[in-house]
């Protein structure tokens, strides 16, 4: 069953994030994707994730499609104007990519091409609207298309540390949903019980919610996230659990798997982010009982 059909029928969806290479060697991407074929519903391919120049998501999505898997590619406005974005959307359809996730681009200052010019011709709401228009057969200038694309388009909920910032992010989310987004991906969830309280507000928008599960790869990363990401809510207990584990790496994978299992009862799906450990996805899925 396709990702879109699972979403509309209320089935739980499992999405795995996989980055394209910084270069043209796609062997690791292909090998890692094949390992989880049949165990995930779609592979999310970010575009220049964290502002790092890589092979574009369009190629990554096409590659995933070639492996007989469904792809969801990131689209964002930092690097492309409305012409390039619309052209890529049409190309994505031609290349067999059925799903798009409109995201916020990382600040150029935080990437590896800090001297690059920033485009930001559109914002996320406008881009979602443009994708919807293309699906209705017209481009942003009102010209008719010869053949219209079809997509399931999602959006993201910005990070929130408290109720006040959640409310502001929800106001933005509402605009994205009104513009045409049909699912939402949340920021990483580490404390499922705490997230459940916010989930009530998010669910009020009546759009399928996919929770991000971020693999904490080490005590250092867990500590860094707890200190620098106010919305992460990583408990001292969790950090201690990783630190005291005989096999810390395995414990990190187990925590991610357990988080997925807990989330399964509460949200429509999960998006697993492994930060370069895509080869560990089968283990995480195993711990999650998937």
């Amino acid at each position: 069953m396709s990702f879109q059909r699972r979403l509309t029928s209320g089935e739980f969806v499992v999405l795995a994030e996989m980055n394209t290479p910084k270069g043209v060697n796609v062997s690791a991407l292909v090998a890692n994707a094949r390992k989880i074929k049949g165990r995930v519903d779609a592979v999310i391919v970010p575009d220049m994730d964290n502002g790092v120049m890589r092979m574009s998501a369009l190629a990554g999505g096409a590659l995933i499609h070639q492996q007989g898997m469904e792809a969801i590619i990131h689209l964002y406005c930092r690097d492309r104007n409305r012409m390039a974005l619309q052209g890529d959307v049409l190309a994505a359809n031609f290349l067999g990519i059925q799903n798009l996730l409109v995201v916020s681009g990382e600040e150029m200052a935080n990437g590896d091409h800090r001297d690059a010019a920033v485009v930001n011709d559109l914002d996320e709401v406008e881009l979602i609207g443009a994708i919807k228009a293309l699906q209705n057969g017209v481009d942003m200038s009102g010209f008719s298309l010869d053949g219209t694309p079809e997509f399931t388009t999602g959006c993201t909920l910005g990070a929130f540390a408290d109720e006040k910032t959640l409310d502001a992010e929800l106001a933005d989310l509402e605009k994205k949903v009104a513009a045409g987004a049909s699912f939402v991906v949340t920021p990483p969830v580490f404390d499922v019980e705490r997230f459940a309280a916010s989930l009530e507000k998010i669910a009020a928008l009546n759009v399928p919610v996919i929770a991000s599960v971020f693999l904490l790869k080490s005590v250092g990363i867990a500590r860094y996230m707890s200190l620098n990401e106010p919305g992460a809510h990583i408990s001292e207990e969790m950090i201690k659990r990783i630190r005291k584990a005989p096999d810390r790496e395995m414990e990190c994978l187990r925590i991610a798997g357990e988080t997925i299992a807990q989330l399964k009862k509460r949200v429509q799906g999960v998006k697993i982010e492994t930060q370069g450990w895509e080869h560990k996805l089968p283990t995480i899925l195993g711990f999650a009982g998937l």
């Binding site: 600040e107 150029m108 200052a109 800090r114 001297d115 690059a116 010019a117 920033v118």
Partner: protein, 221 residues
């Protein structure tokens, strides 16, 4: 200077719809020079707004002021005694001035009467043309004093695109090809050999690549 043009009357009227009394504020700097928002333009717009309001059967009290500079807090403060007596401020400054007034007076709406256009120079009576985009890392020393960022339609850094004809840009006969101007200027200066120097891909961090910019002069702060 920063150049500007007045917004259409209907748009200004739309912004102040519902206001009975406004403070119309001009600026004595750039927008006076480019005849968009100085004392004279304030008087003209005040009369225009009152006439347009009368046509709609409404009374509009317009108080006129022109500050020395709207982008400077010292002068913006002169509005303080009047601000509580009006429903809104309509600023005839560039976007810098509008925002400075809005920053100072948080409870009063401030509406722009101008569209801020560009940093430019006068080419003759009634003509202003773009000269600078404030990239933050001036390369005029490499290009004979003519900016390809502001004046080349494609912002090309290493010679023309090939679309120019008789020194004019392919976007229109009234636009000079910046690289034609650069070449002619370099010939006049006898530095044609520098034309072959390749300008490296520009570092846009100084030009908003890293977000809103700020200058801090510690010797003055």
């Amino acid at each position: 200077m920063i150049t500007a043009e007045r917004k259409p009357m209907d748009e200004i009227m739309g912004m102040i719809d519902g206001c009975g009394r406004i403070l119309l504020v001009g600026c004595n700097e750039c927008v006076t020079v480019c005849a968009a928002g100085g004392r004279k333009e304030v008087a003209l717009l005040a009369a225009g707004l009152q006439m347009a309001s009368m046509k709609k059967g409404r009374a509009l009290d317009v108080r006129e002021m022109t500050l020395e500079r709207q982008c400077d807090p010292e002068y913006v403060e002169e509005l303080a005694p009047h601000i509580d007596q009006v429903d809104a401020v309509v600023s005839m400054a560039c976007g810098c001035g509008v925002q400075e007034v809005a920053r100072r007076f948080k409870k009063t709406p401030v509406y722009p009467a101008l569209n801020t256009k560009f940093m430019g120079a006068s080419e003759g009576p009634g003509i202003w043309a773009e000269r600078c985009q404030g990239c933050g890392d001036c390369l005029l020393g490499l290009t004979g004093g003519i900016c390809p960022i502001a004046r080349c339609a494609k912002r090309l850094m290493n010679g023309p695109c090939g679309g120019s004809t008789n020194g004019k840009c392919e976007i229109g006969n009234d636009v000079d090809c910046a690289w034609h101007l650069i070449w002619e200027r370099m010939k006049e200066l006898g530095i044609e050999d520098r034309y072959e120097d390749v300008i490296a891909a520009k570092d846009w961090r100084t030009g908003r690549g890293n977000g809103p910019r700020k200058i801090l002069r510690e010797d003055l702060a």
